[in-house]
Symmetry: C2
Subunit: 242 residues, 2 copies
DNA sequence: GCCTATTAGCTTGTCTCACAAATTAACTCC
DNA sequence: GGAGTTAATTTGTGAGACAAGCTAATAGGC
């Protein structure tokens, strides 16, 4: 089942914990974190675990440590926002609205362009995989976990078929975030809208090798997702103020 | 001066060393790295250092460790290619040609779109910073270190003025790579071409609030850089075969 | 003889204690 | 009062040990 990864190492769970605390603003940039021994005592682990956790966060640009000074939270500008894990942490709390806008603006730039390239460079194997994902989506619907996974798979294959490693990597990052926006969407409204027809149109455009149509179909899809997500976030905000 | 960061911690230098070895293919994905104690002996450091180095690489998606199995190199698909450090490591050896193509394709997608947004949302402060960078470029030329830094600053401010955090982060990553392609360009030809006029055109378009012109100017700039870089890489390849 | 269950071992994960290096801050001397 | 020096604090590194988890080999049952 979706049950547990056996027992995840302690330093990973603590890294996620501290990472969320940082990206959600509970530790302001420029502030110094408690010393390693102090954190070790507070968390009930050894200093080794604390240090390995800090190395993980440092690799993502979140923190920076120097002798005597201590470990400081780096400026937001230095964070590695496109790191998939970091994007996930962003959505642990209520995702800040400007950030959601940035995300969809980026999607609106990258995904249509990628679809245009995919319409030219896709192979039969890619079309097969996309078709399969599309059928799974139709069958299970986007309200189910399986359907959402198929949705991600569908878009992932499109990026894959561009043959551009960097676009694929960017896709992985964006997907990590999109997964959460989709989660928010379906948390309240059961069926915001059914994007299956648009997905089918996109699939046909790519299959026909029509870049312009593929780009346009993707723009329509992303725009629709953006509107739905904003509506869901407004509901979320209304519930929070009650 | 540009001199050294005092004495960088050992685990960082070793992480870079192993990271380069992995991204340049000296450790194939799926292969298992030597055990931690063995690496510690080989490198002449303690196991703590080896482990912290591995945590850094694991945070970037390069490796994955499990008890008994050992630490394996993850599939290239899982790498965090947009990590600035990782991109830098990519260019330690001879940058693979398909990768350079991917990079410029990504630039061609993102930067024109960003310029269009910047033409609308830029403030006086942004224009001032851009103008200053432009003047520095004109004065020193792109053959100098100062000129290249100003070039990066110029493009960085454009991304900054979009007000989109994710675009800024993406910019930082791309810049890390562009820095190296520019380095290759100027290693052989002293003056491939002088892109100052195009930069000035881009600046004016953004100042005038003309998105279409800004996008077109950026497309011209990226295309020119792409051609120059390819020419430089061909020279590089010719020299390598001699 | 084949399949299953157990056990042995190897590797990462964690803990403890210790010292070195680096940098900030206080302090002393001029 | 200012500049050089010293001291204290924090990260960086080291060494050794035990625990936990996983793979594989081995022994037992059918």
């Amino acid at each position: 089942m979706a049950a547990g990864k056996r027992t995840r190492p302690a330093h990973l769970m603590l890294a996620q914990q501290l990472g969320v605390a940082i990206v959600t603003g509970r530790h302001q940039p420029g502030s110094v974190l408690p010393g390693e021994i102090e954190q070790a005592e507070t968390l009930g682990v050894s200093r080794s675990v604390v240090r390995e956790m800090l190395r993980t966060l440092a690799a993502k640009g979140l923190v920076e440590g120097r002798p005597k000074t201590g470990t400081r939270v780096r400026d937001r500008h230095d964070w590695n926002l496109l790191d998939p894990e970091l994007l996930g942490w962003m959505f642990e709390g209520a995702p800040p609205l400007p950030f959601v806008h940035s995300l969809f603006q980026l999607r609106m730039i990258v995904e249509p362009a990628a679809a245009e390239i995919a319409a030219v460079k896709r192979t039969a194997r890619h079309l097969s995989a996309m078709g399969h994902a599309l059928e799974t989506m139709s069958t299970h619907g986007l309200a189910s976990e399986i359907g959402r996974a198929a949705d991600q798979e569908f878009h992932s294959v499109i990026l894959d078929s561009t043959g551009n490693e960097l676009l694929v990597s960017l896709s992985a990052s964006i997907s990590a975030a999109v997964r959460w926006t989709t989660f928010f969407k379906y948390r309240h409204e059961k069926h915001p809208r059914n994007p299956i027809p648009e997905h089918r149109a996109l699939f046909e455009a790519i299959a026909n090798g029509d870049p312009a149509a593929a780009g346009e179909a993707t723009r329509a899809l992303v725009n629709q997702a953006h509107l739905d997500t904003e509506a869901a976030l407004e509901i979320e905000a209304r519930l929070a103020t009650n």
